[in-house]
Structures are given as C-alpha cells and as structure tokens.
C-alpha cells in the first residue's frame, strides 16, 4: 500500500554494491554537498556519515544516503552509543543502529571510547572516562553487546581529552589494548585526537603511537583542531573539526601509514564546512600519502620477493 514496509529480511541479497574501502581516502558526508558529489564525474574514495543523522523514519536524509551508497563505499560512524558510560546501553538506540547497518551495508562501522548520556540527559559531547580494570570490564561488555546485536565487529575510536581522572590506574593505550583483547574489536585511530590529547596532557604523540596496537587499526581519522590556553597559560588544543588538518597531524599520519601500510582514511570537517572542492583537495592530500606508501610497499615486496 505504501513505502513503509522494511526491506525484506528473508533475502540475504545485498541491496548495494560491495565496494572495497581499503587504501582509500574519504570525506565526512554533509547534506549540502549532495548535488556537488552526485554531479562529480570523478568518483572515488568513500563517505562517512554520523549514524544518528539517519535515524529518522524517512525523508531527504535516507534519500541522500541511498544515492551516495549506490556509488560509494560508506562508513557508518556512531556518535552517541555511550559505550564508555557506566549505564547499560540504550537498547532502542542500539536497535536503530543495527537497522542502519542492515539497511546500508556499510564497509566500516565505528563508535567512540566516550559517553554522552547520563540519567535521562543527552549531553551531545564525547565525555571522558577513568581508565581502570573496572571500566575496562564495563566498556568491554558494551562493545560485546554492540557487536553481538549488529553481527559484526566495530572499530573503536580513541578520544581527544582535556582532563584526566586521578583514579585512573591504566594508560589509554593499555586500556585500549585490553579492550581489543577482550572483545576482538578493531580500532579507529584518530591521529588528530592523538595529537590533541598528547599536547593537552604533556606526553609525546610518537610514544603514544609506538604503544598503540596498530595491528588492529581498520580506519584513520584526520581533522583540524583549534588552540586555547589552560589555567596555567599553556597550550590547550580543542578537537574542533572546523578547519584543515594541521601539519604536525599530517606528519604523524605519514609515520602511521609508513608503519601500517595504507588504511581507509577519513577527513572530518564538521563545522565551518567549506565548499566541496576544498574537502576534495584535503582528501586528495591524504590519498597521495596512502598511494606513496602503497607504492613503496609494492617496491619492497618486489625487492625482497
């Protein structure tokens, strides 16, 4: 009678092409770029969407994502599952997340090591947690639950933080490694977050990366940050996603890809959003670094093979 019926769950046939995403640079999809993207003859790369923006019943968001998904691989990035929170996961929200995974068959699925809901209030920010054996256990339970419901592993993103919890007994990389061991989840390495947190907490981004379980990384995020000051007048970086990727972050990215080989890499730009060609150029810069390392890997294989 109408278009309300969900797609048939009897058939296992894919609704969309299974585009590969490995080695590609991508861009966070913004609705205002839809026409520019659909009119762009040079198809390539992938798009990442914030899952929550597509949790309405219908309308232009689903129409846009369907059109994008027909031509490109899509990464589904959850922002507010509150995996890092002490409360049980919101079952209704998890159900909506699963419905998107089923409907759009994303190449990548990710969420954050953070939380955003407490009691009945949704705070719309990625809030930090203490790193202890007890929180490892709780967060691992949450990751297990998500992975069980959606039927596939997720990539967990390292946070950018501005405070620490004196009660923490583990470093962030040890905490993340423990989660990977317990849940077999993959990791989304946000290189800008590494740089922001390292600056804010006075450690070396390179030593963080040396200690990070790089073998489990399935996606990279790159973004711009802003500068403020802390109470002592020292530099405090804000994960603002409102500008180009900083030179220091490009350098760290180059080092990571040199170690890991090419990985799907996303340019995140979520406010003060520029025109489509600016974003495309930023993704092309990431793609050039990925391609350079792909060539050198290929060269090495030849040399030793």
């Amino acid at each position: 009678m109408n278009g309300l019926a969900p797609p048939s769950r009897v058939s296992k046939t894919s609704r969309f092409p299974a585009y590969p995403v490995a080695d590609l640079a991508g861009i966070s999809f913004k609705h205002e770029h839809l026409h520019a993207i659909l009119g762009d003859d040079a198809k390539g790369g992938f798009f990442e969407v914030h899952a929550e923006n597509y949790m309405g019943a219908g309308g232009p968001p689903h129409d846009a994502l369907t059109k994008i998904r027909r031509d490109y691989p899509v990464s589904l990035h959850g922002v507010c599952m509150s995996i890092g929170g002490p409360r049980p996961l919101d079952k209704a929200h998890l159900g909506r997340f699963k419905a998107l995974v089923d409907r759009y068959e994303p190449a990548l699925v990710s969420e954050h090591l953070a939380w955003s809901t407490h009691d009945t209030t949704y705070y719309n920010d990625l809030l930090p947690l203490p790193y202890t054996p007890a929180t490892v256990s709780r967060v691992a339970d949450h990751i297990d639950e998500v992975q069980e419901v959606i039927g596939r592993p997720i990539l967990l993103e390292n946070p950018s933080t501005y405070v620490l919890f004196p009660e923490s007994t583990m470093g962030e990389t040890d905490f993340i490694r423990a989660l990977v061991r317990r849940t077999d989840c993959g990791l989304l390495l946000d290189v800008n977050n590494v740089f922001v947190s390292a600056t804010n907490h006075g450690y070396s981004a390179l030593s963080y990366l040396a200690d990070f379980p790089l073998d489990h990384v399935g996606e990279i995020h790159l973004a711009g940050h802003a500068e403020q000051e802390d109470d002592e007048g020292d530099l405090l970086l804000i994960d603002s996603h409102d500008g180009p990727v900083a030179d220091a972050v490009w350098k760290l990215f180059d080092i990571v890809i040199g170690r890991c080989g090419p990985l799907p890499t996303l340019i995140e730009w979520d406010s003060d959003i520029p025109d489509w060609p600016v974003l495309k150029a930023e993704a092309a810069a990431a793609q050039a670094i990925l391609d350079r390392h792909a060539d050198s890997l290929f060269g090495k294989a030849h040399a030793t093979g």
Binding site: L4, M55, G56, H62, C80, D125, V163, I238
Partner: protein, 266 residues
C-alpha cells in the same frame, strides 16, 4: 553484561564518574568536579570548561539549525541567549538531535523578553512541525481525484489516512506568513497580514510544504487525523466556522498530499 557489577561489589562507586562529571556541565557557576584534573596536578577549570562549552554551544547550535526562521526574526544574539536558557532548563533526552526542541515553542511563549513578539512561539511550532515532516516516514500520497470514485452517499463515512508527515498548526497570529517570509534567504518586507493563520505542514515527496489552511480547515484536519470520517469532521468544522468550505478544503488537502489512503468506516 552485569559481570563486573557482581565482581566489583560496589556498583555505586563505578557510576560516580558520570554523575560527578555531569553535575556541572550545564551550570557555569559550579567548580569542576573533584574527580578530574589536569596532568601533573594542573588545574582543570578551563579544561572542564571545554566540555561545558561544547555541550551548551552544540545544543544551542542544534536549536539554531532546527528553528532558522525564529533565529532570523530575533537575530542571533537574542536567539542564542533564549536558546541558552532553554538548553539549561530542558536539555535533550534523546541522542537524536532532530528530536530536540519539542518544548522550545512553549518556552518561547513564556520567555519574558519575547513578549513583544506574541506570534514567535507559533512560528517555532511550524518550524518544529516542518522538521517532523522532513524526517517522517515516506509514503505515496493519495491522488487528487481519489475521492471522485466514491459514491456521494458514502463520502460522509469515508475515513482518510493522514500522511506520516502531515501536521496542522493553529495560530491566533499570521504565523504562516511570518514563517514563510523568514524561512527563505530573500529580503523580508513589511508583513501586512494581521489575522489568524493555520498551517498545513506535509511532505508528499522529498520537499516539505507549509500552506495556509482556510477557515475551519485546522479543526477539520485535526478531526480527520484523529480518525473521524469526513461527515463528522466537516460537521465539527462548520460548528466552529460557518464559512467552512468543505469541497475547497478537501481539494486543497488532497492536492497538498496530506493523505495516503481512503476507506469506508467499518
């Protein structure tokens, strides 16, 4: 899932970090929680303020994105001050930001600095209905001529099923005209309308439409949306407005795509 709850023996302590962290997130007068600090004993006042700022500013931004005509009418400084009060009083309860702002129009209605704009709350109501229509389920509207095949004597018993995007908003002010003038990017001239205006909001395809409802149209649509048959809904509309024009209302609503099906009352 409750494995560590059983093992830790102190479930209250585990949830301390979220309770402690959120206590001051919407209250700029509170000190940062004792549970957090900067590195090497550094202070956390400005550091915690980053989270507080992220929360408040992002939620004000969300309201600004959902209520662009209201924002244009008031100007950004007025809007953001008003939205800040609302965010602190009524933060969202859903992680879906397009669901936020259901109480915003009522808040505007009692916001003392908005008293000189008594129609502002109704403009916000239309904007909230617009956003609901935007995200509503997709459905094929009933064709304009669909009622022509129903014998005249059966029309009174006919029940119309509303499109999931259809909403009726009533206003004692020219809210539809004010909404339309401020929702676009074009210049806003002097608004001459001064009578009450009711709105029909729906989305037959991908584009949301907001139309004037003629006299009695809002009560007629409300009754139809509540599942009453055409005859009863028309009687209610005539009772409220003697000039209610049944055929013009039906034709206008069908043309707008407000319904998806028609059937006889059981």
């Amino acid at each position: 899932m409750p494995r560590d709850e059983l093992q830790s023996g102190d479930p209250g302590r585990r949830s301390d970090y979220a309770a402690a962290f959120t206590a001051g997130l919407l209250d700029p007068d509170r000190a940062p929680p004792d549970a957090v600090s900067g590195p090497n004993g550094k202070a956390a006042v400005k550091r915690y303020a980053v989270y507080r700022n992220n929360v408040t500013v992002s939620l004000i931004d969300a309201l600004a994105a959902s209520f662009p005509a209201t924002l244009r009418i008031t100007g950004p400084d007025f809007f953001r001050a008003m939205a800040r009060f609302h965010v602190r009083e009524t933060p969202p309860t859903s992680p879906l930001l397009f669901e936020y702002g259901r109480d915003f129009a009522d808040f505007i209605g009692r916001y003392e600095y908005a008293r000189s704009m008594p129609w502002l709350a109704d403009v916000a109501r239309i904007e909230r209905a617009w956003l609901d229509a935007y995200h509503a389920a997709d459905a094929e509207p009933l064709a304009s001529g669909a009622l022509a095949s129903i014998p005249a004597e059966r029309l009174a018993d006919t029940v119309l099923v509303p499109h999931p995007a259809t909403r009726a908003i009533r206003s004692r002010y020219p809210a539809v005209t004010i909404f339309a003038a401020n929702r676009s990017d074009g210049p806003v001239g002097r608004i001459e309308a001064n009578g009450p205006e009711d709105a029909l909001v729906t989305r037959p395809g991908l584009e949301v439409f907001v139309r004037h409802l003629p006299p009695g149209g809002a009560v007629f649509l409300d009754r139809l949306m509540a599942g009453e048959p055409l005859g009863a809904a028309a009687a209610a509309a005539f009772a409220e407005r003697a000039e209610f024009d049944l055929s013009a209302n039906i034709a206008g609503m069908l043309q707008a795509g407000a319904f998806i099906a028609a059937h006889q009352e059981e």
